[in-house]
Amino acid sequence: MTYAQAAPAETVSYATADGLLSSVWLLVAIPLVSAAILLLLGRRADRWGHWLGVAAVGAAFLLGLSYFLGLRGLENRSVQLSLWDFIAVGGLYVDFGLLFDPLAGVFVLLITGVGFLIHLYAVEYMAHDAGRRRFFAYFNLFIAAMLLLVLGNNYVMLYFGWEGVGLASYLLISFWYTKPAAATAGKKAFLMNRVGDAGLAIAIFIMFATLGTTQYDEVFNGVGALAGGTVLVLGLLLLLGAAGKSGQFPLQAWLPDAMEGPTPVSALIHAATMVTAGVYLIARSNIIFSANATLQLVVVSVGALTLLIGAIIGCAKDDIKRILAWSTVSQIGYMFLGVGLGGAAYALAIVHLLAHGFFKANMFLGAGSVMHGMKDQVDIRRFGGIAKHMRTTWLTFAAGWVAIIGIIPFSGYFSKEPIVEAAFAREGWTAWLFGGAALLGAGLTAFYMTRLFVLTFHGPKRWTEDIDQPHESPLLMRIPLILLAVGSLGGGALLATSVPDWLTSTAGLADTEEHHGALPHLAIFFLAQGVTVLGAVLGWLLFRNGTATVPQPAGVVVTAARKNLYTDAVNEAVFEKPGIFLTRALVYLDNRGIDGIVNGLAAGIGGGSGRLRRLQTGFVRSYATSILTGALLVVAAFLAVQAGWFA
């Protein structure tokens, strides 16, 4: 089965929620209230607070499931619920409303389902952390924001959730504040996300200016009437937002650094849910993206490039969580590739997103379990032979491993291969380019995941001296692992057969159209399985006897990969250096408010005699001079305008 461009969409309309579905707001309210209780009660809730957090997410899951089933019986499977007019003045109208449709539904199930398991795991994982209650409060806050993000019925609501998850993520990454790296990483995540958020915010304002609305249905119905250039700009800004949140090129650098946070955070936020918000944004806006071929090409290119970047860097890393993080970057690249292909292929991306949510959460929690047994070490060069000591972790991780590399009949096969196929179904030479990239990525994925798996669980022991015998994690941590492993193994087949139809049944999505691509179906199947097996066997043969425990000299490619393909250097040159320079310049200009270390720095630059020349010196005379200068400039500007110099 191959997929083609979407046909022009029919009119999008949503039914009004009634009956059971009119209580859909509870999904957001329950975790929110729970977070508020945990934060407000303070230490009084320390003993039982984490269970409240778990229960809230569990309740949201059950509710979400019942809404999801309730949707099946409806004729129009998209219902919206207007809670109140958020802004309704003149030309502006924003509804404070929710939309529950198949797309939102599957996200709700992913967020609350995987979220519940990770909460459960965290109860034990964080047991020895004094801040566990606070951790669960932020965790619940995150769930609430994430649900708001996927449930909103307009872009402003989406933006609410968008900022909320960014905030919760920032707090949770910085949670281990005693590690300076954690604070720095929190900052980096925050700043790079802001770049993306600015794109999204400006996109929303453009919708207002051109369409006069941000309601999904009105935007989608109105987008056809917009000029091509406007749609392009709108889509590129949305893509910028999506790339920031989902760690896609060129904003990918923050995601691996975000691994400084506690492992359940990495699993929930930086693997299963938040980082997929970008995919959700593009999938939700698929009508906008389908309206412009250039736009789709950009999305596909970003996806293909990122999936290769992530896979290549993943091959060169030695930190178990960072490898998984780069793997996340790479897998989301596949999803971008899928949503960018447009039409029904977008549903494939969602399937991959869901499947990925399971197996990646599984592997992150598995990594956490390994770290638990290995005194919080993360270097896979110092693991090896753990399989014997941690049977459950080993087996469940193996389930994640076979799932992600896409070996038939496990989940990755059903979710990833259709994307490869869809890439090959493009017209002309781009089929070879993007299909080839997807195929190469599949081989690389098999290689680095096998390397990770073998080095961690098999081969000779290379443990540091302080470890006698790794212990298996407690039951409460093993149960989520087992459940997620089952999902990893079987989920893909289940999802791939039911979800695409379910998603495409929503009004506004094009029907699947048979189309012959550059390669026949069977050839792609053998190619994909071939490179996967090749990569895996190569990884197994190279690393079954362990590896050196210190970095080895390496060629140009590996060195580049170890250095994140120099993307950090680029970021540093573009964002960090000007930032530092600017900060120093500002300290120089306003030295009244600064002291201590910072002041020493300023003195180093300016020197005592430079004081008078600084802007914010504290001297009235220099203030008056700067006001006078400003006044002269303003008057001159006015006169210049009047004289028509700018006309």
Partner: protein, 516 residues
């Protein structure tokens, strides 16, 4: 227009102004005749009652649309802004009148005592605060009410002085760190007088320009200026130099760059409750006047002044956002934040039509309540030497006083424009109309700088929650009833205007029409 014969005075229309000025005069008498012990218990209720009475009159006047005595315009924007000033003043008065947090309140007993002398230390410990704070602030409020309703440049100038002079004095009245406070007052006064001179000079030029109207007398009332912009035969150099100079006088009060230089020093040095009052109410007054001047008097020159003021707005946002990043004192940080917000407000002023007008008015109210709540928390974080404003002292505050740290976090998130707070809706309310009016570059600058500005705010949040409290982390004083009330009102307003801004937005929208 009939000459020599004054139109009858509409007393009801100017009742809010009369009430505030009357209460101020009464307050002076109280200061003179009531025994020292009773002054505070009399003054605070008097000031609060006056504010409430004036607010009632504003509500009673809700449907009035008149220009009375030729110089005071009572119309939708006037009433909305007067209501805003009064509502914010009521909250600010609660902070000004607080005496439970510190013995005798935030104000010095006798400003004439030499700072840091033994006598001064004695009075800092024991003596009650100065009672003249109340008449001074009621005078200032009265001046602000005139300022936003002034329908001619001369009245506007007088109102500017009426509300500025008390503020200069109040700045000098801090109980602690008196030298810093006096320095702030001196700077504010000198630079304020300097800026007033610009305004006055501009006024003179505009007067000269209106002399070019053939069919009517020269004057500086807005109808005449408006007519002159369209028809005057005088040199347009007079007009544009005049507009520029008048704008500079107003932008100074609004704390727009490059006329903001006084703001950080004054905000830092002034007694904190007063800083809150200035940040909330002076902003409303300054922007109220800017709105009227540019929407009524100089409407015809819109396409000429928009690029220049747009550049000022962008510069203001940049200065506010970038300098905020490096601040280490919470009051200076809030000062730069207030500068950046002036930039966003200017975006609203520059949006043509009623959308920009109502958005700006909404923003003023929303920002005012939030900033009052912020300064209310600042008054509470203190050690033996008074307020601890250095940011390093706030580290770990979340552990020591989770409730106040949570409140402050919420306020900072509102400043950062995080959704579900009034900071988000108000930015939305000014940027939306600006975009519709074609000011795309201003909106892009606004969005980008607000992204930068979020960083210093969140740095404080992280500092409070994620740092270990040091030995020097001060405790949070238990607030008295007044500060608590101010805090609750400020935070509730921030929340309600963030979640359900609709009623106030509608009100602003229906009020957004000047009488001309």
């Amino acid at each position: 227009m009939t000459e020599l014969e004054l139109p009858p005075i509409d007393y009801a229309a100017i009742a809010p102004i009369l009430i505030m000025l009357g209460a101020a005069v009464l307050g002076v008498l109280v200061e003179a005749f009531v025994p020292r012990r009773l002054r505070h218990p009399v003054q605070l209720p008097l000031a609060l009652l006056a504010v409430l009475a004036a607010l009632t009159m504003v509500v009673v006047n809700a449907d009035k649309r008149v220009i009375t005595i030729g110089v005071v315009a009572v119309d939708g924007p006037t009433l909305f802004l007067q209501g805003a000033i009064l509502a914010l003043s009521a909250v600010a008065l609660l902070l000004l009148g607080e005496r439970a947090v510190e013995r005798g309140g935030a104000f010095v007993a006798q400003a004439a005592v030499t700072a840091d002398s033994p006598e001064d230390r004695r009075q800092a410990e024991n003596a009650g605060g100065a009672g003249e704070v109340y008449p001074l602030s009621t005078f200032a409020i009265g001046g602000m009410l005139i300022f936003v309703s002034a329908n001619d440049l001369l009245t506007m100038f007088i109102a500017l002085e009426v509300f500025s002079l008390p503020l200069y004095l109040l700045c000098a009245l801090a109980r602690r760190r008196r030298l810093l406070s006096q320095e702030a007052a001196m700077k504010y006064f000198l630079l304020g007088a300097y800026a007033s001179a610009f305004f006055l000079f501009g006024l003179a030029l505009i007067y000269g320009f209106t002399a070019g109207l053939g069919d009517r007398a020269a004057g500086v009332d807005f109808a005449t200026v408006n007519a002159a912009v369209a028809n005057s035969t005088a040199s347009p150099v007079l007009l544009f130099a005049g507009v520029a100079l008048v704008a500079i006088g107003l932008l100074f009060k609004a704390a727009a760059a490059p006329f903001h230089v006084w703001t950080p020093d004054v905000y830092q040095g002034a007694p904190t409750p007063l800083t809150g009052f200035m940040a909330a109410c002076t902003k409303v007054a300054a922007f109220g006047a800017l709105l009227r001047v540019f929407h009524v008097a100089f409407e015809g020159a819109r396409w000429d002044f928009t690029p220049v003021l747009g550049a000022v707005a962008v510069l203001t946002m940049l200065v506010g956002a970038l300098f905020a990043v490096t601040q280490t004192d919470i009051k200076r940080l809030l000062a730069y934040s207030s500068i950046a917000n002036a930039g966003y407000l200017l975006v609203g002023v520059l949006s043509p039509g009623s959308g920009g007008l109502s958005g700006t008015m909404f923003y003023l109210v929303a920002y005012g309540f939030t900033v009052l709540a912020a300064f209310a928390v600042v008054t509470l974080v203190r050690d033996a030497d008074g307020e601890a404003t250095h940011l390093s002292r706030w580290a770990g505050l979340g552990r020591r006083s989770p409730v106040y740290a949570a409140v402050f976090t919420f306020v900072l998130l509102a400043f950062a424009g995080i959704p579900m707070t009034s900071g988000f809706t108000s930015k939305f309310a000014v940027f939306g109309p600006a975009l519709e009016g074609g000011q795309v570059w201003l909106v892009i600058a606004g969005v980008l700088t607000s992204m930068v500005l979020a960083f210093p705010y969140l740095r404080v949040v992280v500092l409070m929650w994620l740092s270990e409290p040091g030995d020097s982390t001060p405790t949070v004083a238990v607030p008295g009833g007044l500060t608590s009330a101010a805090l609750v009102i400020g935070v509730l307003a921030t929340l309600v205007l963030g979640v359900a801004p609709e009623p106030l937005l509608s009100l602003a929208s229906s009020a957004a029409d000047f009488v001309r």
